[in-house]
């Protein structure tokens, strides 16, 4: 008896020490080479310190050394999952500087490929999020369907992942004859798989238990951290650049901006961010359908652009709605064919900065889910 008492006393005097854990940089579920230094108290996360830069490829330095058309391949390599969307703000910024009006058909093709790529991006996001939560089957379903999207983009541009398809004032190539049918086919497949994944993953009891009420991001915090895209919309804010300041021809389409409603938990949890992605895929399908119907059959795919692109002295900040949020390019031109300074406002970079804020107080296993729900691409975080 006295022995037990002594032990009890000893244990009560033990300070439950906090432990520091390293997640990454090489870790199967960090979505790239990100290192998280996590301080945990038992099972509860008390502090998260992200360490970035394991993929810092000196993008901005390269931009200062390259001519304007040569930068586009590097921009592809920034957010490599949605390369088409990345190129868009950059070429739009240059078009604004050079005062170029792009042909009608180009605008439609741009919208279609960007929305196709948005679907592909969200498919990867939901698929890997499913992997984090322990569901492997949606991964296989989504990657099967993503392949069909990639085949269309490959036929247009020639590459599978890093397309280099947008040019200043136009596109690298025209569409091919069976483009419309293939797009419609893909949309059908995407919708079918989405319906299946809704049953299989999103409304699965286990998945809801795992993701609801985890990683709650309130709208005030989200705006203060300048989050954007599904991360911000998951918190219930209806903010989408395609609606708020319609660039290109987005004002011609009828689509909705899905927001998180807190269907199974509080507004702004991991589940909400995920359902927003699922619903955005459906909206993208709608946009593609409308664009395909409205697209002119014939037309130029390149505006009249000088051979050497030399924007006048000045600066421009252009942003568009990337699948991950708003991606901005700040280009300072000094009148030569190379930019003076090019800053990319990486969407994931900004979205990731909210991690220390929203993961405090949750379980350690939830940290991976929160990270997955933010949908980061390290190429864009580190650039």
């Amino acid at each position: 008896m006295s022995e037990k008492k002594r032990l009890d006393l000893e244990y009560s005097q033990l300070d439950s020490d906090r432990m520091r854990l390293n997640v990454g940089p090489q870790h199967p579920s960090t979505h790239g080479v990100l290192r998280l230094e996590v301080e945990i108290d038992g099972e509860i996360v008390t502090e998260v310190i992200p360490h970035l830069g394991y993929l810092h490829r000196s993008f901005e330095k390269h931009c200062e050394k390259m001519t304007y058309p040569q930068i586009i391949p590097y921009i592809d390599r920034m957010d490599y999952i949605s390369a088409m969307n990345n190129e868009w703000p950059y070429v739009m910024a240059l078009e604004k500087m050079l005062d170029i009006k792009v042909p009608e058909k180009v605008e439609y093709i741009r919208v279609i490929v960007a929305e196709l790529n948005r679907i592909a991006n969200h498919q990867i996001a939901v698929a890997t999020f499913g992997l984090d939560a322990g569901a492997f089957t949606p991964f296989l379903f989504f990657f099967r369907d993503r392949e069909y999207i990639i085949w269309i983009l490959e036929k247009l541009s020639g590459a599978r992942l890093l397309y280099n398809y947008f040019r200043v004032g136009g596109l690298a190539g025209d569409t091919y004859p069976s483009f419309k049918e293939e797009c419609l086919n893909v949309i059908e497949k995407v919708r079918k798989t989405n319906a299946e994944v809704m049953d299989l993953l999103i409304y699965n009891r286990i998945f809801i238990q795992r993701t609801a009420n985890v990683g709650i991001l309130t709208p005030e915090v989200a705006v203060n951290y300048a989050c954007s895209g599904p991360v911000l919309r998951g918190s219930g804010l209806r903010y989408d650049l395609r609606k708020d300041e319609p660039y290109s021809i987005y004002d011609r389409f009828d689509f909705e901006v899905p927001v998180g409603k807190g269907e199974v938990g509080f507004v702004g949890d991991c589940w909400d961010r995920n359902i927003v992605r699922m619903q955005e895929m459906e909206q993208s399908c709608r946009i593609i359908e409308q664009a395909l119907a409205q697209m002119p059959e014939t037309g130029d795919v390149k505006a009249n652009v000088p051979k050497r692109i030399k924007p006048p002295k000045g600066e421009v900040y252009m942003r568009t709605e990337n699948p991950k949020g708003d991606l901005g390019f700040y280009i300072v031109s000094n009148g030569t064919d190379k930019p003076e300074r090019l800053k990319a406002r990486g969407t994931s970079f900004v979205n990731l900065s909210v991690i220390p804020e929203i993961s405090k107080g949750y379980m350690f296993a939830d940290l991976i889910l929160i990270l997955g729900s933010i949908d980061i691409v390290l190429g864009e975080v580190d650039r």
Binding site: G53, Y225, A226, L237, E245, V316, G328
Partner: protein, 157 residues
Amino acid sequence: MLPNEIFEKLRSVYSDQIIELIENHPSDSFITVNASALFEICHSLRDEAFFMFDYLMSLTGMDLGENLGVVYHLYSMQLKHKIVIKAFVPKEQPKVPSVERIWRTADWHEREAYDLIGVNFEGHHNLIRILLPYDWEGYPLRKDYTAPEMYHGMKVS
């Protein structure tokens, strides 16, 4: 609100701390301000009812030869207007007040500008390198930067 209205409003409060408004189509118009008063200006830009700039889109550090510049792209979620604020500091003493307490997103942006350009943000709670290794020397995005020969026994270039 248009940039010239914002400029007039700021001018009436901060008089000579607001240096100039430059409008040059097609580039965005921007307001140059004195770096020493940046924190107060940003505070009122966020809190005043007619500004409401609650969304810091981007924070850029720039090397302009003799000076270093910091560029703030602001956006208002409620009023849907934008403005660009610029501040210049000499390269020898690149001290800019940190706006991290106003917009939390500036935390990482400022660390990045410190990392790559070498702007010193005063009042930042944790101003360390973010992208490059902690023991890296020099600021790579400066125009006169030359990469080191070796790093940890590996050849750099």
